[in-house]
């Protein structure tokens, strides 16, 4: 494996009595694409969100590029700028135009000049195929377009790693591929990605590794090919059986 970029060691988290993350160990190398898969409620979103500290953890450690996650304040904000996040529900800033959505972070967090930020934003919007919508507001775009803008917004920060939490599961079927295509292209360009998704096509095309989570534990991991055709654990086979019949 390449040099480790994101390292989780014995991470534990509860929501009340519910033990959602149990002794999670996970190392993601630079440039690696890891798909997190598992039944509903297994802790995939929570795991994803602990990596930029949208969820706090109770024990264990998480490091990004060798640095432990800061507790609060400016340092935490600085870390989050380096960790991109794409949400299931897009979460574009509803009162800002598409262009402003993409330039906000670079201007306010990185101190980039507005003109430079706009030039770069237009390049990124071009890359994800929504440059012609730059002056519109999020509500005027389709879900697939919004999600591609959200990816551009993350990319504008030049993140070291990007987290995706079910980026296509809120989309109408005909829009799923336009988003997955952008993600595959991103993976090929060398971006380090941690992706929660049930899209096996994406996993097969772009992932180096599939990590199967169940009841807050890493039950099994392997290459997409190994995992989808030849899962070792009973729980993984059971889960795959359920998603494959649909």
């Amino acid at each position: 494996m390449s040099e480790p970029l994101v390292v989780l060691e014995r991470v534990n988290k509860h929501f009340g009595d519910l033990h959602v993350l149990r002794d999670i160990d996970l190392t993601v190398g630079r440039g690696e694409v890891v798909v997190l898969i598992g039944p509903s409620g297994s802790g995939k979103s929570t795991l994803c969100r602990t990596i930029n500290r949208l969820e706090t953890i109770e024990s264990g450690s998480i490091t990004v590029d060798g640095k432990a996650l800061p507790e609060e304040g400016k340092e935490l904000a600085a870390l989050r700028a380096d960790v991109g996040m794409v949400f299931q529900s897009f979460n574009l800033f509803a009162h800002k135009t598409i262009l402003e959505n993409v330039t906000l972070g670079p201007v306010k967090v990185r101190g980039t000049k507005k003109a430079d930020a706009e030039k770069r934003a237009m390049e990124l919007l071009e890359r994800v195929g929504v440059a012609h919508q730059a002056e519109k507001y999020p509500a005027q775009l389709s879900g697939g377009q919004q999600q591609r803008v959200a990816i551009a917004r993350s990319l504008a920060m030049d993140p070291k790693v990007m987290l995706f939490d079910e980026p296509t599961s809120a989309l109408d079927p005909e829009m799923i591929n336009e988003v997955l295509d952008v993600m595959v292209e991103l993976a090929r360009s060398g971006m380090t990605m941690i992706v929660v998704t049930h899209e096996m096509g994406f996993a097969r095309k772009a992932a180096n590794r599939v990590v199967f989570l169940s009841d807050g534990q890493v039950v099994e991991e392997g290459t997409p090919e190994e995992f989808f055709t030849n899962a070792r654990s009973e729980r993984a086979r059971d889960f795959l059986g359920k998603i494959l019949t649909h």
Binding site: K74, V83, L92, A94, R153
Partner: protein
């Protein structure tokens, strides 16, 4: 209708309503500023600030405005000798009363502005704040750039109601001897007989002030609503 003409000819009704507008405008600005600070305190991650904000709102909102204005005028001005106007000024008593009335009105309505803004904050989905934090904005930047602009737009209608209430509540300032509209009305009633014409003049005056405000805020809240 001749009566109304007489009243308008004999008394400076316009000047009295001018004072009403003056009180309203300055108190509204003060209430908006203080109310925004209170709202930020009430949504902040710091427990002490949240409690302080809640304490202020709950105390002030549940105290009659009359008490607050009397406190401003008697308590602070006469007893503590805190003046907002140099005592040497020829209009010292009058101006000091006006200024303290503005302070009292602003302090009181700030509690309502705070609650209106908080209801506006509740119209902003949690995902907006998460997205703001995840691109590296600090708490303050998230508020300024993402949460508050949307919260203000979601709060326009309730803020309009606060402004209308404030306009009418300026009449309470007459009890600390500020000569606004209702004070003049009392004078006229004492000097003339209390005919319906007097009430009509002042009722119409207030409707003329508040009706357009209501319509303006309704239009604004529709125009500026954040589309999701």
């Amino acid at each position: 209708m001749g009566e109304i003409g007489d009243i308008l000819a004999k008394y400076d009704v316009l000047a009295a309503f001018g004072m009403t507008v003056y009180l309203t405008v300055f108190s509204a600005v003060g209430a908006l500023l203080l109310g925004t600070v209170l709202a930020i305190m009430r949504v902040s991650p710091v427990g002490v600030l949240r409690s302080l904000g809640a304490f202020y709102v709950n105390t002030v909102r549940n105290t009659p405005l009359t008490l607050i204005l009397v406190f401003c005028s008697l308590g602070v001005f006469f007893i503590l000798q805190l003046n907002l106007e140099p005592a040497s000024s020829p209009t010292f008593l009058r101006d000091n009363a006006i200024r303290w009335a503005i302070v009292g009105l602003a302090a009181y309505h700030a509690a309502f502005v705070c609650e209106a803004l908080r209801s506006g904050v509740n119209t902003v989905p949690a995902g907006q704040a998460e997205a703001a934090r995840s691109i590296g904005l600090t708490f303050g930047q998230s508020l300024r750039e993402v949460i508050l602009p949307q919260a203000f737009r979601g709060a326009i209608a309730p803020l309009g109601s606060v402004l209308i209430a404030l306009t009418k509540n300026t009449t309470v300032a007459s009890i600390v001897s500020v000569s606004e509209a209702s004070a003049l009305m009392k004078v006229i009633i004492e000097n003339e007989t209390a005919g319906t014409a007097v009430f009509l003049v002042f009722a119409i005056g207030f409707v003329v002030l508040t009706l357009p405000v209501g319509m303006l805020f309704t239009t604004l809240s529709r125009r500026l609503a954040v589309k999701r």
